[in-house]
């Protein structure tokens, strides 16, 4: 069995800031955690809690001021052999704006060491996969934020990495973009990849993560499964499908009575809404019929 995918021990990162470089800003302080291969960890926390810094350290873009990080055993993130097994989606839009999407992806694939013959097939296929097939020859500078995010996902999943680090992957994504993210993450999990995602909105990550880690002020405050961290132990969610509005009204009345007799109360009861993705799909189907 392979050793831990990620092992971070007492990791700290501080920066000197200010005009005289005299002020010390601590971005991460004494962070220790590990992650087994094939697991998905969500980093949650408010802005400035150190999520992005931790991902940059794990990606080998930056080095810790204190402590150590080991990936897949004893290797550090800076080692070339490890970088071949790693994918990183940084926050923001750091890709070369003057290149067309297809050229930029070719460049990134080339820097990742992908042979030309493989690039020729995989690059256009990945652009199709993230929904940018018809924008392959558009310059990245002309992309919207959501399209940039899709491109970022495309470059991260271009190879078949063993460790995937995604910083705010849902930021700016539209509903079809969420679908793309779900698809690539499912595929990655299916082949046993380890995934670490960061978001300041926990609800973005819950569906994907087997574990959540709460960061604040550069420190790890809590870690556990989404149910452990987010479940309140006092509210039951029940979703019922496939009946008429009259039957739903009767069911709601019965449930309210049953809850009252059990010493509880119904907090919310309303007709569920479709997802935006379903709405887009339905509208597209209507447009096609016209």
């Amino acid at each position: 069995m392979e050793s831990l995918a990620v092992q971070a021990s007492r990791v700290g990162r501080s920066f000197r800031t200010g005009f005289w470089m005299a002020k010390k800003t601590v971005a991460l302080d004494d962070v220790t955690f590990d992650l087994a291969p094939g697991r998905t960890l969500g980093l949650v926390g408010p802005n400035g809690s150190g999520k992005s810094t931790l991902l940059r350290l794990l990606a080998g873009v930056d080095r810790p001021s204190t402590g150590s990080i080991h990936l897949f055993g004893s290797s550090t993130p800076e080692e070339t052999s490890i970088k071949r097994r790693l994918a990183f989606l940084p926050d923001g839009q750091p890709f070369p704006a003057e290149l067309r999407a297809i050229d930029a992806l070719h460049l990134i694939a080339s820097l990742k060491g992908m042979p030309r013959s493989e690039r020729r097939t995989r690059v256009p296929a990945m652009l199709e996969r993230v929904g940018l097939g018809d924008r392959a020859r558009t310059r990245l500078g002309a992309f919207s934020r959501g399209m940039h995010r899709r491109f970022g996902l495309g470059q991260a999943f271009l190879t078949e990495p063993d460790l995937i680090l995604l910083d705010e992957p849902t930021a700016g994504l539209d509903a079809p973009g969420f679908d793309v993210l779900n698809g690539v993450l499912q595929e990655a999990r299916g082949r046993g990849a380890t995934v670490i995602l960061a978001s300041h909105v926990a609800s973005d990550l819950v569906e994907h993560c087997s574990q959540l880690m709460l960061l604040a002020g550069g420190r790890v405050l809590r870690r556990g499964s989404p149910d452990e961290l987010l479940g309140d132990g006092q509210t039951l969610e029940l979703r019922v499908r496939g009946s008429s509005p009259e039957a739903f009204a009767s069911l709601e009345e019965s449930l309210t009575r049953a809850a009252t007799s059990a010493g509880a109360s119904v907090v919310t009861a309303r007709m569920a809404r479709r997802s935006l993705l379903d709405l887009y799909a339905e509208t597209a189907k209507d447009e096609a019929h016209r």
Partner: protein, 343 residues
């Protein structure tokens, strides 16, 4: 290797595309004066190249390089690639400007037999003073090509009037193979005479009452008309490129430790500072300074419809040293995309 080439291509593209378009428009709009065209083009390229080179490290250090940071390519290679990209981009720009200027010159009929090519540069290494009645003679050898109708050949000697004579001006007589010319000398000037086919030496005699100085090193130049205008453009391109890659290297290096605006200005200041310090200390900027006196002489040559001389070896060596120094220090400093100080 492929990945490095791809990265170089990106950087070349970053620099070359907007710059080349800008230049073609600018140069096409200038007068047919080759010196003005060169000066304007190289100044424009210097501005674009220096500012862009200074901005690259800053962009990397502030997060734009994150996607590069995860590529399994050594960072020293990326840094070296960035520099090669910057240098190649600069060369592409100057090559585009050269081609435009050459095409413009050809269009204006400035080339052909009217262009003079240096055939021989000779003379003593130090200046010599000729008092009234004294002479200086220098062998100039056989013509490099046989005489033909319409082919012009001239010799010129760099001179000036100096202290020591009875009057502050003097008269020089320059003679070569039966041809002669009397020239009044009141300041630094070229004593020139057309060479007959048989001339193998030139003689300068001070026939006035003041003191005449023959200014070394190598004050005697033999020029002959030539069709090889392309060689001149290439040499001019060499002068411009040596200067530009020096500025780009300095800007790239300084950009690692300071913001792009300050780095670009400081790169220009370092070069100007070198010029001023040596001018003050030695009376003139040194020949080895890329973009220095040799470049100035080359610009003057284009103004006189002469083909410029090649950049001196020391200037090329100085440019190469700056380039390698900049790349080496940059590679070391950029080991972290975001070092502690600039985090």
């Amino acid at each position: 290797m492929t990945s490095t080439l791809s990265f170089v291509a990106l950087l070349v593209r970053r620099l070359a595309t907007p710059g080349a378009l800008f230049l073609v428009i600018c140069v096409a709009a200038t007068s047919s004066d080759a010196r003005a065209a060169w000066t304007f083009s190289v100044a424009a390229i210097a501005l674009i190249a220096t500012v862009r080179a200074a901005a690259w490290p800053d962009a990397w250090l502030t997060g734009e390089g994150d996607w590069l940071g995860t590529a399994p390519v050594p960072r020293t290679w990326l840094m070296a690639s960035a520099w090669i990209g910057a240098a190649l981009g600069t060369l592409v720009l100057t090559a585009a400007a050269s081609a435009t200027i050459a095409a413009r010159s050809a269009w204006d009929g400035e080339v052909g037999h009217t262009l003079l090519e240096a055939e021989r540069i000779a003379g003593p290494a130090r200046s010599i003073v000729l008092m009234p009645g004294e002479s200086f003679e220098q062998p100039i050898g056989e013509p490099a090509a046989p005489a033909s109708p319409g082919r012009k050949r001239e010799v010129r000697v760099r001179s000036t009037v100096t202290l020591g004579g009875e009057t502050p001006t003097t008269i020089a007589l320059i003679e070569a193979g039966g041809a002669s010319q009397r020239i009044f000398v009141a300041r630094r000037t070229w004593l020139a005479v057309d060479l007959p086919g048989a001339a193998t030496s030139v003689r300068v005699t001070n026939v006035g009452e003041g003191a005449l100085a023959i200014l070394g090193p190598d004050p005697v130049e033999v020029w002959s008309s030539s069709n090889a205008w392309l060689g001149g453009v290439v040499r001019m391109w060499g002068h411009a490129s040596a200067w530009l890659v020096t500025l780009v290297s300095l800007a790239l290096l300084l950009g690692v430790v300071m913001g792009p605006g300050v780095a670009a200005v400081l790169a220009a200041c370092v070069w100007l500072g070198a010029w001023m310090i040596w001018s003050r200390a030695a009376g003139a900027p040194p020949d080895w300074l890329p973009g220095g006196p040799a470049f100035q002489r080359a610009l003057e040559a284009t103004h006189e419809q002469r083909s410029p001389l090649a950049p001196p070896t020391v200037a090329i060596a100085a440019a190469a040293a700056t380039v390698m120094g900049g790349a080496a220090v940059g590679a070391v400093l950029l080991r972290h995309w975001r070092d502690e100080v600039r985090g």
